[in-house]
Amino acid sequence: MLHIINKSPFERNSLESCLRTATKGSTLLFIEDGVYAALEGSAKAETLRQAMQDYTVCVLEPDLAARGIAAKAMDGIKRVDYAGFVDLVAESERVQSWL
């Protein structure tokens, strides 16, 4: 499954709830304010590092850039553009948006 998370982990519990119910091997894609989850050195960084063990973690690059944090995103996170976003949806049998 592709899990799309669009809210900051500091604002909403979407990431937390997603991680409780996402099957290992799923893909997580952070978009919009969700990209703040990828910030190196934040209180959520360890959560994300753990997540990277079990999931493929991706981030929508234009949203990183818009927020001026492209250089501060953690290593190991795959950056995609909108075309890549489309590919991720096409490649996953099912998709869920965590709003």
Binding site: R20, T21, R94, Q96, S97, W98, L99
Partner: protein, 129 residues
């Protein structure tokens, strides 16, 4: 689309409605319920999951007279008349909010996060509001 079955006249897919937001503070609970009701006519394989603050959508004793809004919680009890009977609630969400099944106004199946995970993986279409 491994779950898709062809029946005479049309496709049947597994639809999951994910309810994570409390009622009244925002419109999502009410309007997602409206999708479920209209969607019932399409005779798909429908499940509803209530997790996080979504569990508050189906708690008993909602009295909206003071806020002058329509109390739409009785509609959840009508769902079975529309053949929508698969209502699931996440145990972790209930526990975190100090609630039990007794606090809920409609029969549900309480599931752990792991069970919800498996339920979600079994779906074709997942609607979020």
């Amino acid at each position: 689309m491994s779950e898709e079955m062809m029946e005479e006249g049309g496709t049947i897919k597994k639809f999951l409605y994910v309810n994570r937001k409390a009622p009244y503070g925002t419109v999502y609970a009410l309007e997602s319920l409206e999708v479920v009701l209209i969607g019932a006519a399409f005779e798909q394989d429908v499940s509803l999951v209530f997790m996080d603050d979504g569990v508050f959508q189906i708690t008993k004793g909602q009295d909206t007279a003071g806020v002058e809004m329509k109390n739409f919680s009785p509609t959840y009890r009508a769902l079975e008349m529309y053949d929508v009977e698969k209502l699931f609630v996440e145990k972790e969400s209930l526990d975190a909010r100090g609630l039990t099944e007794d606090d809920l106004l409609v029969p549900v199946e309480v599931m752990t996060s792991e069970q919800i995970r498996d339920l979600m993986e079994d779906q074709d279409v997942i609607l979020s509001f």
